[in-house]
Symmetry: C2
Subunit: 130 residues, 2 copies
């Protein structure tokens, strides 16, 4: 049913880096980290990031211009994402809540418009920073 997706060389290198990182990574920090592996130009990074986002393997934290590996099951291929962001230490966690995603999936606005995709970013203080 789910066609197994094989990542290309650059995609795999960049996914591995993001996946093993304990914090979201920015594009140019990724670039710096993969230069030893032969990826030399921003475009090579951005292309891989685009593809990985499209596949739902990573998500972009829009308010931070940073990328994090999906902590769920690729989030229905990246169509429904929610994050918790600590405004002090910048710890970012992907929220996995069935009730939240159900609520948002079914949300209709005043015009009856239904949405195919959403991104939600919550801000506050994490346990440690409170």
């Amino acid at each position: 049913m789910n066609k197994m997706q094989t990542l290309s060389k650059n995609q795999q290198i960049i996914f591995d880096l993001i996946d093993k990182s304990s914090e979201p990574l920015k594009a140019y920090s990724i670039l710096f980290n993969v230069q030893k592996k032969g990826i030399k130009a921003p475009l090579q990074v951005y292309r891989a990031l685009d593809k990985l986002v499209e596949l739902g393997k990573i998500h972009k934290i829009e308010s931070r211009n940073a990328f994090i590996a999906c902590q769920n099951s690729s989030c229905q291929v990246s169509k429904a994402t929610a994050f918790s962001i600590c405004e002090i230490c910048e710890k970012i966690t992907e929220i996995s809540s069935a009730s939240l995603s159900k609520y948002l999936r079914n949300f209709k606005d005043k015009d009856g418009m239904k949405y195919s995709k959403y991104n939600l970013e919550f801000f506050g203080l994490c346990k440690k920073c409170r």
Copy 2:
């Protein structure tokens, strides 16, 4: 109760431009449009934008790097925002739904973390583009 906030000269010029615009504006497009009014440098624009966001007079659409005037009552000073974005025509509307904002305001994650702020962006097709 709400201290009436007087905008500074640059803040007022930039707010007026955004407020009368029918679509979200990007920083450098704002810069271009206010050069005849004597605002010449990016920093002057970004400083005014920062302040206007802080006051809740405008919001930043994170996924678009664009700014839109608040269509509600300054959204409790910018702490709770939700937008509808058409992926074809890029029409962007601020969503005002009591039930949505109540749901999100009260949302607690698994750790019992409560949030002081959120930003939600919905994507889909608007009436016209469907």
